[in-house]
């Protein structure tokens, strides 16, 4: 059963009375990369966690293409991924454990994935000794191995150097090419222009705009989006 269109209707997350998500309305198709932009505290990470099922919304409806939520079809990669005290190959195979894949098949699939993300030569190294960029690639591969229909990425490149960012973006594009819908947050507007098909602009816990990337940067319709882009872009345009 398809998860899409994924529709959020008036989704609210209000822990202790403070509205972090204050009536989010959003419809996502099953293709491409949607980037969520917004200032700090806008609710971007909370939105992803709510869609992933990690945080229970306190109001509203999340409609998964008319069907029920299939947790195994939704994956998420965090800003600071957890690495177990184990080898790289054990870490990348981790996502297959709850899916009941046997140890031998896990290892074979993990090795193939390590080839794909360029970490095959590090298979037996300590995962905690990888660089930040390599750890993020490993985290992406770990979730990619589970073949999710929807992949949520919470600022996956926020603390990486440019070459590591480029490597992560290449993997994100590969995942997209395989037909996985990607919903990601970032503070990097350059990255948004490179990766996004459409932009969701979130401010004050609400979706202010959901338009194509070209339209968002050329003709932002909301005041908040204009201010956000103007506040960020001078630095970007200086180059």
């Amino acid at each position: 059963m398809s998860l899409f269109p994924l529709q959020l209707r008036d989704v609210v997350f209000r822990p202790n009375g403070r509205a972090v998500l204050d009536g989010v309305d959003l419809t996502l198709s099953g293709e491409g990369i949607t980037v969520v932009l917004g200032p700090n505290g806008a609710g971007k990470s909370v939105l992803l966690r709510t869609i992933c099922g990690l945080l229970p919304s306190t109001g509203g409806v999340i409609d998964w293409g008319g069907g029920s939520f299939d947790p195994l079809a939704v994956g998420m990669v965090f800003q600071h991924p957890v690495m177990l005290r184990s080898s790289v190959i054990d870490n990348i195979a981790l996502g297959l454990v709850p899916r009941g894949v046997g140890a031998r098949e896990r290892r074979m699939a993990a090795m193939a994935m390590l080839e794909q993300i360029g970490l095959a030569d590090r298979a037996n190294d300590n995962a905690r000794q990888l660089s930040g960029g390599e750890q993020q690639r490993l985290a992406l591969g770990r979730v990619w191995l589970t073949r999710p229909r929807l992949l949520l990425l919470d600022e996956p490149t926020s603390s990486l150097d440019p070459s590591a960012v480029e490597a992560v973006e290449r993997i994100v594009r590969q995942i997209r090419t395989e037909g996985t819908k990607i919903l990601m947050t970032t503070h990097n507007l350059g990255q948004a222009t490179r990766l996004a098909d459409d932009i969701v602009f979130l401010a004050g816990g609400r979706v202010r705009e959901h338009v194509s990337v070209r339209r968002f940067f050329s003709q932002p319709s909301s005041v908040e989006a204009r201010q956000f882009i103007q506040g960020e872009l001078p630095w970007h345009l200086a180059f």
Partner: protein, 234 residues
């Protein structure tokens, strides 16, 4: 003073000569405590991890009880196990009282809460860091417990060592359920207590030295192993 020196000299001589009596007692102690700790590890560590990860009514109460039982007086455990295993008790038909099996049971009862309490704390600290990631990978509680126990293996060695220390140094419970029978249920601690009260200090000192050396040796070995493996995975 001369008496003490002589006692120590005789104790060393017993060890040097590989006195059969001494090594019989040491072997039985290792068998009883080793088996108790092995069983305790398979019960205590998963129990502690379940208490850390699980979400069920009465979880806090269970945690308080496990923590409280860490300091169970061994003589109380001895009496309870004695009542259970005695001829008129619920497990009387098995005829286990005054056998090494009874001593293993008593030591398991002593070490499980200690190991579970330490495991709960260690696993809970790690789980706080991993919780979201494992939830996003759709780990159920069983897989979560398994992964966390494996991931915390270096820290959990402390729980196993604490259990071993508790089991090997314990005297009250094994005295009650084992009966301290010569060549049958006499272990290092009960033998030391008995021989000291009889005034046979050389044997008591020899066994005391072996007991201390064993505990130090096991701790040093575990520390070295932990350090070398941690260096690879931390």
């Amino acid at each position: 003073m001369g008496g003490f020196s002589q006692a120590f000299a005789d104790a060393f001589s017993l060890l040097w000569d590989f006195d059969a009596r001494v090594f019989e007692i040491v072997l039985l102690s290792l068998q009883v405590s080793g088996l108790a700790v092995l069983i305790g590890t398979f019960i205590g560590l998963p129990l502690g991890a379940c208490l850390a990860v699980g979400s069920f009514p009465g979880k806090q109460t269970a945690a308080v009880i496990v923590n409280g039982f860490m300091g169970l007086p061994s003589v109380v455990v001895g009496v309870v196990v004695y009542l259970v295993l005695s001829r008129s008790g619920p497990m009387g038909d098995f005829g286990l009282l005054y056998t090494p099996s009874a001593m293993v049971i008593a030591q398991v009862v002593l070490v499980v809460p200690l190991m579970a309490a330490i495991a709960r704390q260690v696993v809970e600290d790690t789980w706080r860091q991993y919780r979201e990631e494992l939830a996003a990978l759709r780990f159920g509680w069983r897989d979560t417990v398994r992964v966390l126990l494996h991931d915390c293996r270096f820290s959990l060695s402390v729980a196993v060592l604490a259990g071993l220390g508790r089991a090997m140094s314990e005297v009250g419970a094994v005295m009650i359920v084992g009966g301290n029978i010569d060549r049958s249920t006499r272990v290092m601690t009960t033998a030391i207590a008995l021989e000291t009260s009889k005034g046979d200090l050389p044997l008591a000192i020899a066994l005391g030295m072996v007991l201390l050396a064993l505990i130090l040796f096991l701790n040093a070995g575990a520390f070295a192993l932990r350090t070398s493996v941690m260096r690879r995975f931390e």
